[in-house]
């Protein structure tokens, strides 16, 4: 349910960026969303419809670029993708790692405007 708040701050940034560049319309918005960010892509899409209404970004396409979780192994320094169920077990030495190097991203990544 916090996706509305997240989309509102995304929209603030989108509109600031679009206005600053003198854009009349925003056509496409790309977000980078980590699998461990706690934000649900479907809920973000739903929230986007609401917060974009009546703005330069109304009707824009929202693309969500998922960022997989990755971890670092404390023993052998290998960086690896989290496995099934987001369990981070090092493929070389089988140790579990809680040291995440990516997967919590929640970012506005790209805009298409005219």
């Amino acid at each position: 349910m916090h996706e509305v708040g997240i989309m509102s701050s995304a929209m603030t940034a989108v509109l600031a960026e679009a206005r600053r560049r003198g854009a009349q319309r925003v056509h496409r918005i790309v977000l980078r969303v980590g699998t461990l960010s706690g934000a649900e892509p479907d809920a973000l899409r739903f929230a986007f419809e609401i917060v974009a209404q009546g703005t330069l970004a109304a009707g824009a396409e929202l693309e969500i670029d998922p960022v997989p979780a990755r971890a670092r192994c404390a023993a052998c320094a290998t960086e690896f993708d989290a496995g099934a169920g987001l369990i981070c077990e090092c493929p070389t030495c089988r140790r579990l790692s809680g040291d995440l190097s990516q997967g919590r991203e929640l970012e506005l990544a790209r805009l298409e405007m005219s």
Binding site: M1, H2, G5, I6, S9, A10, T12, A13, A16, E17, R20, R21, A23, H27, R28, L31, L36, S37, G38, A39, G85, L86, I87, C88, E89, L96, S97, G98, D99, L100, L106, E107, L108, A109, R110, L111, E112, M113, S114
Partner: protein, 248 residues
Amino acid sequence: MGQITEYKDQDGDIFRVIVQGEPPAGAAAPATRTIDLTIPLLEKNDRRAERNRTFFRERGLLALNLVSSPGTGKTALLERTLDDLGREVKCAVLVGDLETDRDAQRLHRPHVSVAQITTGSACHLDAEMVARGLEALELDQVRLLFIENVGNLVCPASFDLGEALRVVLLSTTEGEDKPLKYPPIFKSAQVVLLTKIDLEDRLSFDRAAALENIRRIAPQARVLALSSRSGEGMAEWYQLLRGELLAR
């Protein structure tokens, strides 16, 4: 690295933007432009959280963010902790709920400053609510601040409050596989407490399986099993808190 620009949002807060691939100055702007950006969507919360963290550090306060599903026993854990430890170490509590101040009433003790944050419809506490809640607390001599988050195992994962430790509770009534179903919150925990272990036998709860699930999802976390009702495991919890206070 791209060009860095600062913006002000409606609240007058400044956020930073890194822009890559901007068309060169003087070039005719194409009909449709594509720009690459890196704008963290929770930057405003993260900045407030950092401000809270600095405030806690400067006052020598250990701040804990207690997160769990509703009904895991966060308030019961705090009631017992305030009774057992509250006279030895001065404590304060910020408690978040959608409505009512029932938890604040339950936690009310003459020796403890308690403030309730009612979030209305918000499903989590954010750093700004905590900053405002702090103004309502008497923090003189306080060493331990418990922030009892809204009962929710999803949304609070995304919001840093400025805490030193995130404590995630899992109760025996929820089943052994909860960590596997809600990885983000468990992966963000420094401490995981398995609560209501006095009910273990009646529920045929498999403690070893639960601990193994926690370890696989959250190998970084320290894990304790306890019961606020029977008192089992509470000494270890207080030991953990004392150790953290000494380390500060």
